[in-house]
């Protein structure tokens, strides 16, 4: 049975249809879930997509984290369901405390919209299940606040607990430890600044994002059976 991916739509999200298109092409069923929904319905994985939820007022993700749907996302994550935040979705997960650390303005104070090279680190996250460590992927970034920041003890903990999912090969934004994406301790909640859904078709310049999205669908299938 194909996995159903719930894609949360906040006011100002703008990548929900891109994610839906990408996962549909990979054989999944996509379902958009409005931010005011009190529950997620029957989904096997959740994506918080990119965009500018609530116009990034106050801080990116600061208002979105209080959306009614976020309670359901937290419960789904606590039960081990795969949750992935992409770009603004990563910022929401950090603000919600589902992932450690914070995303600051890029070190160079420039909005970055470019393809970057990533290297996978952990093999056990919901987004890299079965992806051999050190796999290189070309995936675009599109953000102003993507500089990953955390206290030194948190950074050390991420290393020790195998929570670093992807790093930048050539750090574009000043992120600590070249970190482009992390997971929670269990590995089922992942946030990353790059957009795998924008590297899901040769026409878009790269299909490497499908490596990550395919792994997510595999994680979704696994969470179905356990």
């Amino acid at each position: 049975m194909a996995a159903t991916v719930g894609i949360v739509v906040f006011p100002g999200s703008n990548c929900e249809h891109d994610v839906a298109e990408a996962v549909t092409r990979l054989g999944a069923t996509a379902r958009l879930v409005f931010h005011k929904a009190p529950s997620l319905g029957a989904v096997d994985a959740v994506v918080l997509p990119g965009g500018f939820a609530h116009g990034d007022a106050l801080r990116p993700g600061a208002i979105a984290r209080f959306s009614p749907v976020m309670g359901a996302v937290e419960r789904f994550a606590a039960e081990g369901g795969p949750v992935v935040g992409i770009c603004n979705g990563f910022q929401v997960l950090c603000e919600a405390g589902l992932l450690p650390g914070a995303l600051q303005k890029n070190r160079g104070l420039a909005f970055l919209c470019q393809e970057v090279e990533l290297v996978t680190v952990s093999e056990r996250s919901a987004l890299t299940t079965g992806v051999p460590p050190a796999t290189r992927l070309r995936v675009p970034i599109n953000h102003f606040e993507g500089c990953y920041t955390a206290d030194p003890d948190v950074l050390a903990g991420l290393e020790e607990q195998d929570q670093i999912v992807v790093r930048y090969v050539d750090n574009p934004n000043g992120s600590a430890g070249d970190i482009a994406g992390i997971s929670n301790k269990a590995g089922n909640v992942v946030g990353l600044m790059p957009h795998p859904e924008r590297a899901s078709l040769e026409l878009l310049g790269s299909e490497d994002g499908n490596v990550l999205l395919t792994a997510l669908l595999k994680s979704a299938d696994r969470s179905l059976t356990c």
Binding site: L58, R59, A62, F66, C94, E95, P100, G101, A102, Q104, K105, N106, R107, G108, L109, C147, T149, A150, D151, G174
Partner: protein, 98 residues
């Protein structure tokens, strides 16, 4: 965290609150650094330690200053700042009678 709404009440005193949000010491502040580096262009060589933050002004109705401060403290911790990277300092004064 749910914050109980403060019921509107004509006799409730109001407090003018200024919340200053700054990046915690040790957290990189590229805006502050850029401003500081630009100062020599203006012929200013005696300024250092530039840090950029934001100011949030609020008017709070509360029975007394302590209650107003508790509400703003809670708002700062849960919403107005990200404690991972930011600190808040709160100034509070009784609003002039309207």
């Amino acid at each position: 965290m749910a914050l109980a709404p403060v019921a509107g009440c004509a006799s409730m005193p109001a407090f003018e609150v200024l919340v200053e949000v700054t990046l915690r010491p040790g957290i990189a502040d590229p805006q502050g650094a850029t401003i500081e580096r630009s100062l020599p262009l203006l012929g200013v060589h005696s300024v250092s330690g530039v840090r950029v933050g934001k100011a949030i002004r609020l008017t709070v109705e509360a029975s007394d200053e302590g209650e107003a401060r508790r509400l703003v403290d809670a708002l700062c911790a849960s919403f107005l700042t990200n404690p991972v990277i930011e600190d808040a300092s709160i100034s509070l004064a009784a609003a002039s009678v309207r």
